[in-house]
Symmetry: D2
Subunit: 380 residues, 4 copies
């Protein structure tokens, strides 16, 4: 039952897939031993786990086995524990997962996965923002036809349009960077009453994983999930709005924008003369997916009942991972797009002359550009 | 075409309805005149507007007329402008809406509406949190049966369960209070290039309305909307999760919890012996609605193209207002619920004895309660 | 707390609003008496109810009162019963709502509301289809530039594009017409076990209301709701896809399409030279809203537990009504659009010459038109 | 980048995964050659393709390669064509994909995938319905406590409750079976104008694939997708509502229902005494996911613009596949559940005695059972 991402074009190695989650599950379990067992045992477990993780094929096989077996208990933790314990002396084996519940490990591993995906995303967005800032400054005062409600409106400048993209993306980038560094470990024990575990252990565990110690267990209080989901969604939707503008500017009758070309990119099976703006299309795709995944995480929060919910929790994993994945993909496409976007100034002038209102100025477009760039510079 | 909220039980006077939005539209227009025209004109306009707003029947009639006419231009601004200008000297009339675009006014009025709804919500949540904190402390160490995945688990304490509710709601309350005070005015002019308007005017306008001056126009960069939407959604979903626990505890076979009773509340047309837990049901209802409204605002952000989008913007108003409305309603129900919730300690003891594992402790439930209360106290 | 639809431009009198639902609630109650009580009582009740309904102001006041009171029991049925019983002799009063539960009445009234809204929608869609069929035939062989993935592709004909619109809309129209005539009465009694009511009464009631007698009570089996929701959603989304094409064709750089003009329609407060394509914008708006409302009804079905659910049911009413409302509005806009859409053949020829591939034919576009028209003709 | 379904527990071999889609893509391409090329070439292509498909490892490797490469063109078709053409004589190679566009193949392969998943689902639902029918008859007249709005209501019978489950599931099963056999091939050519292809070829292709020939190309008229999505969603939500009832009945304080046990199933890492009702939890999980995926397909339909849309189409694949997958998984869990569900009649009697209203009957519960069984029998 493998999915290679064929129906979600753009997925690459290192993006949050099942193998990445398995590695995060292992990291979480190992750090727990380091936070709670004595040094010798911790070292034995860490060495054992490192050996497993170093063997890509073994991890792949393990992941597949765990996935198929997850139907038995409804989550992958038994499989991880068994794989980690196998071949270890019994004392070390017993230290693994001691006093934890599966939700502690799944939620913590998901937070690690979110954090790493956020780092990947922010790195791509850094490139996007730098390119857009340069582009906005270069064309700060170049008039273009604006459109409101699809119709010709007063002119703006190309710089102001690009600065607008920068503004939205930069704010989303900042929010994601902040959210990614507020992600907590999950540490509630069997029923969120911390049976057998202590705040002190929680703090040590969090430190080892570079996550935050939470105020309290959050088995059924899911703002850690919905907030990072909101941040990923904002990245996706803001990039999608930008992609929408690129797609509109690249339509043949407009002809003001062109995606950077690359071997084979955007080819058509039926029409060899075409070069489809595939980066923008994938960005827009991700933006149209994100709202539904975000809703899924919010609905899971709404139904987080009892001391661990009876189904809602299980809906969160693939949705949160999906948001992270789309943010990674979309921001990677966006970096390629922003670094190579081609603006046809002559076409813009032609369109403005043909359709713009006579004698209109570009207002205070330049000041808008300057304000956005200043904000961006201050937050680099 | 009036909706009185019959299909969304719980709506009350002052909640964000069409009349509230009309008043916000008027406030936004009047403050703009105050920010940009000379004092005499500003006073004339303000007096004129105050007279309109003071007449509830007139506002009601105006709202209905504007609503029906909104199909002509797709938004209510023309109707507001005409109503404000009517009967004013021409110089004062001309100062109204000068250099603004309808999106400036609609978005700013929506921000005012969100802010006021957030204030109402936070006030209710203050009551909820105070009651839950007292309840958690009172029952800090009273053991109850916990449930994970619907089944009997290790015991927790009733205090820890209630503290968990407090934790989720308190965090949502704080996030909403913060978000509500970051809401910006919308000030982009015709195409977001600030034709005829200045940052200086934007700052004065924002100050008069107690909103923030934004970095840049956000006609097509919608994080101000999606973020406050996220905050309202978190309130609704967290209250809904709490309601779910109350509903489970109030089932006849469990019998640990009971909603406070009131004349006629929760009556049944077919079964006079029933008293339905209607506060919790309405809270849960709002929690199940919120994710879809949140998705709507995110989808609108994804499609915010050009200098003003061709349909996506129009989907945002009712969705954002719906989220605000559900947060107001749900938090008001929650205040009544939290202030009167009845816990049957004997029933809890019976259930625990019958179904709990033998010789089990409540772990560190007390410490969890203390940590949550400490956090709550520090943020009051 | 009145909403006049100000934030959902396009709502008109007779569209499914609270007053329409109140009238449906009354019709359902009266028909129940007619189906179950003796003739004299039935006549007394019917006369009494007709008097109430004839007084628009009274219905309006009643609706408002019921709406505000609905918070007490969570639904509007008590209010309806009290209003109907007031002033009636006790025997007649007792016949009202006898053996029914509030869900029987709310669900049945919602079905009536859906049915009537479907009839309104289908009537508008008949106009849409007739106009599009004529337009498609008129331009059956007129070549236009096609776009795939936003880029210039092989040519099609304007007739084929319009026939495509017709195809999608005609299929949605047929599906809605079928679904609207499968809508059942809801007749389960207190717990879906038909306490005190019989299949025979159910059949008589259904016949009086021109609804179907269901196989069984559907208090917690919600396909009657999700299916009609799906049919309304399909109408909205198909009209929205058409609107998207009109908006693209009406962009200034393309200039092939123009909405029919009307006094004030599409005016801009900031740019008097503009005429916004507001019909298409509202259609697209409704299409972007529908998926989220559809999801709401499906989520309600997923959570339809026990013999009546504890919150999910309450989320359905406004969502289902919203879908009906958007279908009514969008199809009305579409009728105006389709009857007046202006195609600029010269502009189309210019665009094709400038951007189309050389020497390309329009394929079998004509045959596609003919197949679609044939299907349409057969189903009129 | 492999996903093995670890975050969507329940996935099994043969469920709609990337490999299944690749096989469907190959079947679609091969059948097209059979429908359009001469016999010798068709045979050569079919033999070649059969050899590829027979080698599971090769298909797996191919799928992975195509998935990674899909970012280049935005869909997997180039990869399929290249794999099929490699090693074939040029005339046979040229017959592959002749005159088709990638959307023809992707959409047709998705329809095959949907159809096969529907067949799997219906087969499981046949088992579910047969078991529930027997269970309903067995307990036709056994009184149980009913709950409305979470509270004790009049009694119903266990048979009536089970018959209700049967009713919802049986109707969903019928609707899916009908929808699955209305699925069309997609045959529009480059721009939906059937360049180079004919209705006659379409009919032959459809016949070879056991799909329907559509009225017209549906590149941008997506009811074939949204309707089958709606049918899968109904299966998921109806099964989820049933699962909700099982979960409520299995709570320790109620104790009326128990899932069938199996080695290791429902085990807990922290609490060895637990046996979690994992079948119901996974069914409920799928029901909570389905509405959001359904919304995704509707949103894609709303944005299906031009002759092929610029992003919306790309959102459909994973959403439609997800719905199919959840229906397959959930119905498989349901078959296991229905065939082994344990009803504790004594517990039910105890609960009814303790909480039911005195002297109450079970109404016409038996007649409801009979009506549902009659309908089921007639549609087997």
């Amino acid at each position: 039952v493998p999915d290679y991402g064929m129906l979600v074009p753009g997925i690459g190695d290192g993006d949050p897939d099942d193998v990445v989650v398995v590695k995060a599950l292992v990291r979480a379990e190992v750090a727990w031993v380091e936070a709670t067992a004595d040094e010798g045992i911790a070292e034995a477990v860490a060495t054992h786990a490192a050996r497993i993780l170093a063997d890509e094929l073994r991890v792949d096989t393990l992941t597949r086995a765990i996935a198929i077996d997850a139907v038995t208990t409804g989550n992958p933790v038994f499989g991880i524990i068994n794989a980690l314990r196998e071949g270890l002396p019994s004392e070390a084996a017993a230290a693994i997962h001691r006093d934890l519940t599966s939700q502690d490990i799944v939620d913590t591993a998901m937070m690690l996965t979110m954090r790493d995906a956020a780092d990947l995303t922010v790195a791509s967005l850094d490139r996007v923002c730098a390119s857009l800032a340069a582009l906005a400054l270069e064309h700060r005062d170049v008039p273009v036809l604006a459109h409101t409600l699809g119709q010709a409106a007063l002119p703006t400048t190309f710089g102001a349009r690009v600065a607008g993209w920068l503004h939205g993306i930069d704010e989303a980038r900042r929010a994601l960077a902040v959210a990614a560094h507020e992600l907590p470990v999950a540490m509630g024990g069997a029923v969120g009453a911390m049976h057998g575990v202590s705040y002190e252990q929680m703090r040590r565990w969090a430190e080892l994983l570079d996550l935050r110690p939470p105020i309290a267990p959050w088995h059924v209080h899911r703002h850690p999930v919905t907030r990072i989901a909101g941040a990923f969604s904002e990245v996706c939707t803001e990039l999608g709005a930008t992609a929408g503008d690129v797609l509109a500017g690249a339509r043949p009758e407009v002809g003001e924008l062109k995606e950077p070309s690359a071997e084979g990119r955007g080819a058509s099976t039926a029409m060899p003369f075409k070069a489809n703006p595939i980066l923008s299309i994938l960005m827009r795709r991700s933006a149209l997916v994100a709202p539904h995944l975000l809703a899924q995480t919010a609905a899971a929060a709404a139904l987080a009942v009892d001391e661990r919910p009876d189904g809602a929790w299980h809906t969160e994993w693939d949705a949160a991972r999906g948001l992270a994945r789309h943010a990674v993909i979309s921001s990677r496409c966006a970096a390629q797009l922003a670094e190579g976007l081609i603006f046809d100034r002559a076409a813009a002038a032609r369109n403005l002359a043909a359709h713009g209102p006579a004698d209109a100025t570009t207002g205070n477009a330049g000041e808008v550009v300057d304000a956005i760039i200043a904000r961006y510079e201050q937050g680099r």
